[in-house]
Amino acid sequence: MNNIFVITSIVLKELIRRKDAYVLLIITVLLTLLSGSVNFFGDLRTVRYMKEICLLLVWICSVVIAVTLTARQLHAERESRTLFSLLSKPVSRNELILGKFSGCWIACGVALLAFYGFFVVTAVSRGDGWRLPEHFQAFWLHWIMLGIIVAMVLCGSLVFTAPSSNATINIVIIVGILMLGRHLGKLALHMNGPTQAVALAAYYAMPHLEFYDLRDLIIHDWPPVKWNIVGFVTLYGMAYAGAFLGLACFLFRRKPLNA
């Protein structure tokens, strides 16, 4: 466990020292404040669309941070050759993968906390009441989803050579799941033969990231989700993250390292 914590700490330090997350936070703050100062549709409740824009930006920024931070981890270690310094110490490859995962996931959580903190402050200052359970659920499930994404990208960095191709392919997959994931099952029912089998297999095999999207609940002031459903979706996310991590460890153990 010690090695996992040590590797985690260095990923966190990287997030703090690099400017990416700050830039994205500043962009989110500026765009949200700008959207709050203009009434686009004559809606008296500007707070609703401001919340919508802010949450959309939070989602985009969090996915960008998770994918870019994770995609460069192993590649940068290999490129700068620090991977060899690290693995020449009593650190196993599994510990390295788990350390990178926990570092990226916690770093994403810290960034997400800052984003949600800003969102809650903005929403409350615009007359929206304190809705702690809903905000907590939205944050928690969002963070669990980032865990799946981090594990998926980490796995991808052992398959794709360049971090840019890994990041691009993963972003396409993530956007695809978020936009089409919930409809794929229904679409499959209208298909026939092998196409239907493939569509159904994809529907059941892919991680349904859309389960973690509670934006509508916040925007439209809906009541919180039942906690047992939150618990189930958390376990579902952990299972997928675990599966991707297991695959990443397996691939990394088999990968030859040439110092």
Binding site: N2, V6, I10, E14, R17, T82, S85, P90, L257, A259
Partner: protein, 253 residues
């Protein structure tokens, strides 16, 4: 119980074919090697001779196809075998967002060195590699020579009994080379065992107690530098060229 810092028995490493018509490559063939405690051992050979592959097996980066490699009697595959080992890879660029002090603390924590000792150890290695003055500077501001010295510092952070240095003076100017050489000599005086590969034969002759010359994955020559020079009645460079079968091209009129 084996106490040799390094023991290699019948080591064979084969890289599988990468495609149709490309044969499998034997990087190391039936290598037997023992390195004794406190000696500085030079691993020589032209590019592709198997030096780096041998080091990779010792460091657990590559699995042997056959044979065995152990560090202080422990299989090189076991990560714990590296508890008493320091490694300097060739031309490494350490984390740009860290200072030298932070980098060394990071590696020290991996070795589970207690906090009080960790600070002492960081101070000691920074002094040894003459980077005490730059300890709070980000590594990205370091020159190549300083980068190499911080590399040596990280290899020494756990006060290892065995050091593996892969071309430690590669890419350094004469002053940088001299500084690294002085550090290696100082380590020898402290009783450390050092295995290092280098293409600088003059340097190897100056620093090493024993050398081995590998060619096409096979061990061709092994022995004490002085004895080899005397036995073959030539300098190390000439011996090296002779062993690898290099024929100088004669000028034609």
């Amino acid at each position: 119980m084996n106490n040799h810092p390094i023991e290699i028995k019948n080591l064979r490493v084969e890289y599988p074919s990468t495609g149709r018509g490309v044969p499998a490559k034997t990087a190391v063939a039936d290598l037997n090697l023992e390195i004794c405690s406190g000696e500085i051992f030079g691993l020589l050979g032209p590019n592709g001779a198997g030096k780096t592959t041998t080091m990779n097996v010792l460091l657990g980066f590559t699995n042997a196809t056959a044979g065995d490699a152990s560090i202080f009697g422990r299989s090189a595959r076991d990560p714990q075998a590296r508890q008493n080992l320091g490694y300097l890879p060739e031309l490494t660029y350490y984390y740009k967002f860290l200072t030298a002090e932070e980098l060394l603390r990071y590696y020290a924590r991996i070795f589970k060195i207690p906090k009080a000792q960790r600070d002492q150890r960081v101070d000691a290695v920074l002094k040894l590699v003459d980077l005490d003055h730059a300890r709070k500077r980000l590594i990205k501001t370091y020159s190549k020579g300083m980068q190499q010295r911080i590399g040596l510092a990280q290899a020494l952070i756990n006060d290892p009994g065995l050091l593996i240095l892969d071309e430690p003076t590669s890419g350094l100017d004469p002053v940088g080379r001299m500084q690294v050489r002085e550090i290696i000599t100082r380590l020898k005086d402290e009783g450390k065992t050092v295995l290092f590969s280098s293409h600088e034969l003059g340097e190897v002759e100056t620093v090493c107690d024993r050398v081995a010359i590998l060619h096409e994955g096979r061990l061709r020559v092994i022995g004490a530098v002085d004895a080899l020079v005397k036995e073959h009645d030539c300098g190390l460079e000439q011996l090296f060229l002779r062993v690898i079968g290099y024929q100088p091209k004669l000028k034609t009129a």
